[in-house]
């Protein structure tokens, strides 16, 4: 598996009248939506999304993005990405999938983020989230992330056009941890099942962002508390000592 997707993003294909008809029929239910239309659908078809993970959070995320017609999905995971790519192609053969190894350095991560329109982390180690956050902050690219803590599931985002003073994902994670302090751990079975809900939410926010709509997740955190089947929105403030974004004031 390669780290660098750049050479995979250049392929183009002439479309025939039959292709156009197939395109219209496949995406007809989306094209008629007021916020999508033909232009929005083509935007999705031309978009490339980097998706980290292949577990219960990544699967609905990948399938929703594929169903919506996101043109290229780069699936980055240390194992299992080929299997998820095959599932995506089964659902929508028009989507190009590429299985890649996750970036191992800041240089590789920034190169990846610059090559795609959106990066979504569906679980993974804290170190990977921190690396992607650093890269997203460095090159001012959008990043959405979902992850699990013992007490709750979380979804948050950092926008490309971050106003100075906006919190990065490091600040978000710290704020969420403080907010959840003292709360009892959730039932692991409920947490496991609820990961799919976060994956679906990440898919919705990814599509909204690709279509140019604002996302409620930018610089905010949504907590899913499975014991109560409830969501909480956590407004996040930038941490003055944040090692990533403190200098951006």
């Amino acid at each position: 598996m390669s780290h660098c997707p750049t050479e995979l993003l250049a392929e183009t294909k002439e479309s025939t009248e039959a292709d156009e008809r197939e395109w219209m029929e496949r995406y007809s239910r989306q094209i008629i939506l007021p916020g999508v239309g033909g232009r929005g659908q083509r935007t999705l078809n031309q978009a490339t999304v980097a998706l980290f993970g292949c577990g219960p959070m990544a699967i609905p995320l990948a399938l929703y993005l594929a169903g919506a017609g996101v043109g290229r999905l780069l699936v980055l995971a240390s194992s299992g990405s080929d299997w998820l790519c095959a599932m995506v192609r089964d659902l929508n053969p028009q989507v190009t999938t590429v299985a890649l190894a996750p970036p191992a350095s800041l240089e590789e991560a920034t190169a990846l983020l610059l090559a795609v329109q959106m990066t979504v982390l569906a679980e993974g180690k804290t170190s990977l989230r921190e690396l992607l956050n650093q890269a997203a902050f460095t090159v001012k690219r959008p990043l959405l992330a979902g992850w699990q803590q013992p007490e709750a599931l979380l979804a948050a985002g950092a926008a490309a056009d971050s106003a100075s003073g906006a919190a990065c994902l490091h600040c978000v994670a710290q704020s969420a941890q403080q907010h959840l302090q003292g709360r009892a751990a959730a039932d692991p079975l409920l947490l496991h099942v609820a990961r799919g809900a976060i994956g679906s939410l990440l898919a919705m926010e990814t599509l909204r962002s690709l279509l140019g709509h604002s996302s409620a997740l930018w610089h905010n955190c949504l907590l899913l508390l499975p014991e109560q089947s409830s969501y909480q929105s956590l407004a996040v403030q930038k941490i003055s000592s944040c090692p990533v974004c403190a200098s951006d004031r």
């Binding site: 219209m24 007809s28 008629i32 007021p34 239309g37 033909g38």
Partner: protein
């Protein structure tokens, strides 16, 4: 004013409105689009949908077995 024509009498929902919407997206302000459509579901839905997209329905006329809808942006 640009004039154009679209026949959707051989289509069924939702392709009727998909074709209309895709054509409308290519037209500039001030353009007029004449659409030939069937009665029933297309006649009930297409005029309402184009108005929701910000177009003005200029006229709807019965012509033989079909209808002619004229919309202006």
């Amino acid at each position: 004013m640009t004039e154009s024509f679209l026949d959707i009498t051989h289509e069924v929902c939702p392709m009727t409105f998909v074709l209309v919407k895709l054509r409308l997206e290519t037209l500039s302000p001030g353009s007029r689009l004449t659409i030939r459509l069937n009665g029933g579901e297309p006649l009930a839905n297409i005029p309402r949908s184009v108005q929701e997209e910000g177009w003005r329905v200029e006229s709807v006329m019965e012509e033989g077995p079909h209808y002619t809808l004229v919309v202006v942006r």
